[in-house]
């Protein structure tokens, strides 16, 4: 169903997404093209996380219309297909505390259908291949957990990266690492949406700015 000109990776019109009874998103309009790095900025409670989850196919689309990676968000089957193609790094790290870093990465990689050969390089890149390999996740710092989740995401090779505060809890080296990974992914053809309070770093990365306030979005500006 693609038009002759490349269609946006993310296309939302008047999107309303409910958290229970609460309209976390109360009318979001957004168009993000392939290869963009879109920075979501806004106060807490504005709906950034819900927007990311909506684009992941996890949050419902209650009103309005939307399509991500060509999948129609109002159709359940399409949402399910969409989920396999995105990578979500949320506040929650989605790891099993009782298992080690390696066990977590291996489980999630298998569950995601990752190519086996990708696992080890990803762990190396995120600094998890050494001592941390056999440490149970419960014994990790927040930054280390984030790196583990990131390793899992990288292995997935998703076409759309959805990152919620990816820099939080990381030291400068860790943040550089994340930025590097993001840039490489975009070069390889992925699109990135990230929500971040880290103004400096995020501004360097971003090619477009999206302001999210009160469940609504407005595109502030594009760079590059």
């Amino acid at each position: 169903m693609l038009e002759s000109s490349p269609s946006p990776v993310v296309q939302l019109t008047g999107a309303v997404s409910l958290l229970g009874r609460f309209p976390a998103l109360a009318g979001a309009d957004l168009a993000i093209d392939a290869g963009e790095i879109a920075l979501l900025e806004g106060p807490n409670g504005a709906g950034k996380s819900t927007l990311l989850r909506l684009c992941a196919g996890l949050a419902p689309l209650n009103q309005g219309s939307g399509a991500v990676l060509g999948h129609d968000l109002s159709r359940r089957v399409a949402r399910r297909a969409l989920r396999r193609e995105v990578g979500l790094l949320s506040h929650a790290t989605a790891l099993y505390d009782e298992l080690t870093v390696e066990q977590n990465v291996v489980f999630w990689s298998k569950a995601n259908g990752t190519i086996v050969a990708d696992v080890e390089p990803a762990m190396q890149a995120l600094g998890l291949a050494g001592r941390l390999r056999t440490v149970p996740v419960s014994g990790l710092s927040a930054g280390q957990r984030r790196r583990t989740s990131m390793a899992i995401l990288v292995c997935r090779r998703p076409r759309l990266w959805l990152l919620d505060e990816p820099h939080a809890g990381l030291d400068a080296a860790g943040r550089d690492l994340i930025d590097d990974l993001i840039r490489r992914a975009v070069t390889a053809g992925a699109t990135v949406m990230l929500a971040s309070h880290e103004a400096d770093r995020a501004n360097d990365l971003a090619t477009m700015h999206v302001s999210v306030v009160g469940g609504h979005t407005s595109v502030e500006g594009r760079s590059c």
């Binding site: 989850r53 992941a56 996890l58 949050a59 419902p60 359940r76 989920r83 396999r84 995105v86 990578g87 979500l88 949320s90 506040h91 929650a92 790290t93 989605a94 790891l95 099993y96 505390d97 009782e98 298992l99 066990q103 489980f107 999630w108 298998k110 569950a111 995601n112 259908g113 149970p136």
Partner: protein, 233 residues
Amino acid sequence: MLSDALLVARKDLLIEMRSKVLTTQLLPFGMIVLILFGFGLSPDRTVPTGVANESRPLLAQVAPGLFWLAVFFSALLAFSRAFAIEASDGNLDALRLTGLDPAGIFLGKAAAIALELFVLEIVLGAGSFLLYAPELNDPILLAVTVVSTTLAVALAGTLYAALASGMRVRDTLVPLLALPALSPVLLGASVATEAALFGPSSDGWMWAGLLGAFALLYTGAGILAFGRVLEES
């Protein structure tokens, strides 16, 4: 579907081995329940066996029911646990993002619970024999009963725990849903076990068949419905 199930089952069992909930909580709980039954029912009372003038201790006669009650109550802990693992920190979201077949997730989780329950039953079973000293008429029937009951309980429990998952009230809702639904299983298991221990076996086999039907019902229900139940948060 089956490979997904294996993956999930392995993961759940790995977690269980680390957290040792089975050994530190389920087993002691089950044992305590068994022992308390002994306090509740006088050990000196006897009942006639129906053969000539023989009688056997009341506790031995009711041992099957007591055993299964202890298993069922312990199982409730296992069900809650199976979803408590996933409830933490976005795991359910992450599971939805994988391509794992929901039916496979269901079977995998149920399989892990079934295995834990088997271990529990072996220990509690040994305990029951020691405490209540029943006889053993038909070991094969006993084995079949135990297997089919365990499967039925694990499958039904996993499904009901999923229905109530993500909720603070989960711990009270799961028993409310699962116990009434499993009451025929409890009934069947007790009667079949009684037959396996004291005879006649024919009664028992009919009940064992019902238990198998139950397990099949919940396998089918879970495979069909789990996808819907897992949807969204």
